[in-house]
Amino acid sequence: MNEAVIEVRGLRKEYRSSFGRRVITALDGIDIAVHPGELFGLLGPNGAGKTTTVKVLLGLTAATAGSASIGGRPVADPESRRHVGYLPEGHKIPNYLTARQALSIFGRMSGMETAAIRSRSVELLEKLKLSQWIDVRVKKFSKGMTQRLGLACALIHQPQVLLLDEPTDGVDPVGRREIRDILRDEAKNGVAVLLNSHLLSEIELTCDRVAVLRAGKVAAEGSVEGLTRTGAKYKMVAAPIDDALVAAFRESGAGVDRVNGHLELSVDNVEHLNALVDQVRARGVMLSELAPLRSTLEDVFVDLVKAPEVQP
């Protein structure tokens, strides 16, 4: 795999209450690596440290310990943000600007030339279905339109890294799909995307890999498929299912649950599963579906968040 473009190692962030009496640990030594072309989701309940992680990556706040770099440069160096596009949650693009003016100002601040800003603005606003609103002031925009303009501001300078905080917030379902498609296109072009969202279904649909933060630590990390796989559990749809078949399965050591007319089987391994299928065939039962059981990302998330914290 390519070298990580976002790299966080042992990142720790402590906030002090007024007069420094109480220390609040927002990040407790997290490690994250996002590679070019990857769609990486950052999940966690409120206060888990997602926003703090993004803030540290952007130099908005300084880490207490550990290191963070973008494109090989430490985040304290403003140049690390040369190729970063950021869409903050609840962003406030100055509402006295038009879409064109906002893109001009933020494009220029990213070091772009006027001609490049002009052509890229037209292209992006077309892509984000805002071209008719190019010369309208942001204060006239709906929430979804403001969000799409925010994404355009993040993309104006063709970044290699995208940090997005709730990018589909306030966007209608069609718009959400369009934003997902844009993010996938960006990833196909080698852009590393770090997505921070409470919408688990959004993350599930968009991301290749996720990290679940809990109390400032990475509670789980892996591919969406890997995290949602429930081990050796399978759904079997067959007919007729009688008590004798269920009893035979149980005798072989399998866990069997009858759920809405089908069976949910817990087996030791694939050989064990095949032995059960042999029994189905031997009894002349018609097998119509056999599939591994998966949890939703929401199930995984809730389990991880509710699980008691393991003390080192």
Binding site: G59, G90, M109
Partner: protein, 283 residues
């Protein structure tokens, strides 16, 4: 340079959209119209035959030269403009830092490859440019009106404009410092006006020191006088620079180096502190 251009565009667009720019120039224009209507001079063959101010006949002695009258007018109005331009400049620019520091806005600026010092510096220059453009408008208009009414043109009033911008630069740095620390436009305006008003009587610090019974209070007052910007002295210097050798003794004294150096140091100190505070601030 691109960052500076972006900030200038941002500051001027905001000023235009929020009516600040229009109000700024409308107020200035009202002043100019009043000035143009109030001053009526009767110049015959290069000599002043009569003068009216707000319709009231002024006594003009035979030895009164037109040049002296013009510098007198320009000096007087430059002093008035000094107060007006400072008042308007602080009012029109004090929001620049607090608004930029708003949650959801500051992230958009700081996520760009720009150092915080460069960001606040370019914001400061953009604000100063906005104030300077108004000073230039006011000064040029007064200069043209005086030239139109007297047929005498000289450029000393532009030097007065430079001094106005100098004073605004120093106070704007203080306003930025307050803005970075408090993130409040209201507090920035109040503190800056408060500073300007507080520093006015300090010109008479020697007389006040003599009235104090304890040494430490006298030292404290002198310290404050030395540290704070010299709003009164620079105002008198504005008058003095326009009048030149004809300026009264007080104005001549104010044209010394000390008020300028200490005011510049105050501004530089405030800006440096604002830059450090902004750099260390967590968002």
């Amino acid at each position: 340079m691109k960052v500076l251009v972006a900030n200038i565009e941002d500051v001027f667009r905001e000023a235009a959209a929020r009516w600040t720019l229009i109000a700024y120039f409308c107020l200035s224009s009202i002043f100019i119209i009043i000035f143009a209507a109030a001053v009526n001079l009767d110049v015959v063959n290069g000599a002043l035959a009569g003068a009216k101010l707000f319709g009231k006949e002024m006594e003009v002695g035979g030895s009164f030269s037109i040049e002296k009258l013009v510098t007198g007018f320009e000096g007087g109005f430059a002093s008035l403009l000094y107060v007006l331009s400072i008042f308007m400049a602080i009012f029109a620019t004090a929001h620049l830092v607090p608004r930029m520091q708003d949650k959801g806005t500051i992230d958009l600026y700081l996520s760009r490859p720009v150092s915080r010092t460069k960001l606040i510096g370019s914001r400061y220059l953009a604000g100063l440019l906005l104030a300077a453009s108004n000073v230039f408008y006011l000064i040029t208009a007064v200069w043209l009106i005086v030239g139109w009414k007297t047929h005498v043109l000289h450029g000393k009033i532009f030097l007065a404009g430079g001094l106005m911008i100098f004073m605004i630069a120093s106070l704007l740095a203080f306003s930025f410092l307050v803005g970075v620390i408090t993130s409040s436009t209201g507090v920035s305006i109040m503190m800056t006006y408060g500073l300007a008003v507080f520093s006015i009587p300090l010109m008479a610090h020697q007389k006040m020191e003599a009235a104090f019974s304890s040494d430490w209070s006298a030292y404290l007052l002198r310290g404050l006088y030395l540290v704070l910007p010299k709003v009164t002295e620079i105002g008198m210097a504005v008058f003095g620079f326009v009048l030149g050798q004809n300026a009264p003794e007080e104005a001549q004294k104010a044209m010394a180096l000390q008020p300028f150096v200490t005011t510049a140091l105050f501004g530089l100190g405030c800006f440096a502190l604002a830059a450090v505070a902004f750099k260390r601030k967590e968002f």
